[in-house]
Symmetry: C2
Subunit: 408 residues, 2 copies
Amino acid sequence: MYDLLGDLSIIEASSFVASPTAGLYCAQFGAEVIRVDHKAGGLDYDRYMLTREGRSLSWENLNRGKKSVALDLRSDEGRELLVEMTRKTGNVITNLPEKSFLSHAAMSRGRADLVSLRVMGWHDGRQAMDFTVNAASGYPLMCGPEEWEAADPPPVNQVLPAWDFITGAYSAFALLSGIRHRDRTGEGSELRVPLGDVAIGTMANSGAMAEMLYRGGDRERLGNAIWGAFGRDFRSRDGVRFMVAALTAKQWQGLVGAFDLGNEIVALEDELGVCFADGDTPRFAHRHRLFALFETKAGALPWADLEARLSAAGATYERYRTMHEAAQDPLLVEGNPLFGPSPANPSGFAYPATRSFANIPGREPADPRPAPFLGEHTEAVLAERLGLPSGAIGDLVDRGIARLSDRK
Amino acid sequence: MYDLLGDLSIIEASSFVASPTAGLYCAQFGAEVIRVDHKAGGLDYDRYMLTREGRSLSWENLNRGKKSVALDLRSDEGRELLVEMTRKTGNVITNLPEKSFLSHAAMSRGRADLVSLRVMGWHDGRQAMDFTVNAASGYPLMCGPEEWEAADPPPVNQVLPAWDFITGAYSAFALLSGIRHRDRTGEGSELRVPLGDVAIGTMANSGAMAEMLYRGGDRERLGNAIWGAFGRDFRSRDGVRFMVAALTAKQWQGLVGAFDLGNEIVALEDELGVCFADGDTPRFAHRHRLFALFETKAGALPWADLEARLSAAGATYERYRTMHEAAQDPLLVEGNPLFGPSPANPSGFAYPATRSFANIPGREPADPRPAPFLGEHTEAVLAERLGLPSGAIGDLVDRGIARLSDRK
């Protein structure tokens, strides 16, 4: 929570995960992010997980630190208020369809230099969401145990909606780029970010697309091994599962030392005529022989012992945790300055709340702010942004065009 | 490839995936991104996949459109040249350790308003990479078939290095935020983005951390089903696997129509006393009963038939493809303006190359540019950025402090 974007005001008319995270990151850097929802709550207002009182824990985390305006977005009058807000503000994040009342054309009529960022499904307008673009990307058919059949494996969807989160962060970047361009030239921009293009584009940017075309086929199954480098999951004698990785000669030597495999490695190098310290290639090419050595050694030692060695060697490793474990882990959460005291959440439930991912040494980050109640800022924003007097606002509320806070 | 950031110049001293994508996105928007590597190539110069000639296909896609300077970064003299470049440029992306020659303190000595963005492992300096922070996050123990034991399931690593890509996009955003702040106040910033914080922070921002703490335990296994909504993978009669999702009443009705399940759904609603069109909750709560209906219907129809129906209904669905299939898919790649003609890649291999994820209607995007050869811009950059005359540059090359293009 650093004040890097304190001069920016952004209207966010969006739902779900991708576009709200774009707004969230801006809010965490001090921008005023005004989320405008339909008065009964947007499509994501009731998304799991819900508390017993029906408050969405995902909504209140994705929208922490924003303002909330609630309008009847099914009425022309409510829609026009939103469009007017975008014109007065000049910066918009949305995932409403381009062919909707909130098109760039409609908003920029009356605000020629408007910068809008629109998250879409596929580039041609077809519907998409994280799990469907993931299916198209090729990744799910690569996930899962190495021993599954290569010809027709069942797909494994990643539980993390990665495409949503990459799209959200990229959208925040693209929005700021459009704003920077306007600062310099006066020209607004309509920036469209299709979730499907983030997925296929990432697959290409990673080099994987070129790889498959170069191979003329698909990659072999790897299970939990790291592609093109040394790393995999192992299990200690007392059943603790952990991941190790060695991406440099130094990390490799640290791992070999921690596992006390010096002699075995030398013997294997002699047998194969390679030097594993040379780079990723020999370590990856001969990974199965190496995994066998590491597996045996891991299975002979208790985790406490292994961890002490890995830590002392400065190795790159991590124990697998369940999410509930991770949520209570002192190293990951309590003792981590990423998290701050839980503000007064609309749900009434107290839990660690995040600051921005980025930290600035020497600058004190503000505490996390609460998520808004739906409609908490309707009155204040209509007054300040649209200049409506309180009588006019009262009338809008009476007629159900605007709604005030849903705090009970 | 839009010229939104054409006035920006950025020095990138980084490797692997996260920080190079931050530079890539800036380069795609027209910024001059000067990647500075050790003269023999950085830690990622030989990363898989390699062509027969030893060119890395991942490197040339992650560094498309950047300039490349090669220096002896193991020598004090080479390091000092890099530090001097950062001071002259004022904007830096790096993943070198904070306790290195490229600390913010060293760079900003002589450039007080420097903005640096440093990708780190864990916030406390411990080593990390994508697969290890993923292990800590809780996601791998949630992935995989529903029928695996809940108590001690094997972890499933996602093949996509999602944390790298989220971190890269977020870092581009954070860098621009720091630059905007400097534009307004004259103050530089040292922005640190730990990969581990992106992972744990995302888990929290998604609401999942609060969910597990609220439950007092972990979530049930879901397999490929979408958490809290309706969606899962199915298989057609002729063996085609596909994903469907319904996140709104409209999408739900479209799906029911496409699968011709109207009567069955009404009967189930009567039996259970619910109305599935009401929202996510009844559809998720009774998903197993619904999945059984959809599974039976899917298994009775050939894909061509199902797809025609899903498409006509405007449903949210996608066929699972292998990555090799996806790479050759006309809808995803050839016919997609995200991709452009393959520029002259260092590998000599021709394949579709990406433009920016964001597109701007009405503005013609430039074609993708080639990745640089290592050291291709050493001479030009040393001359322009540091004002070195050609004699001095020649001397640096002769003494192995600087290296020119590795084009053969």
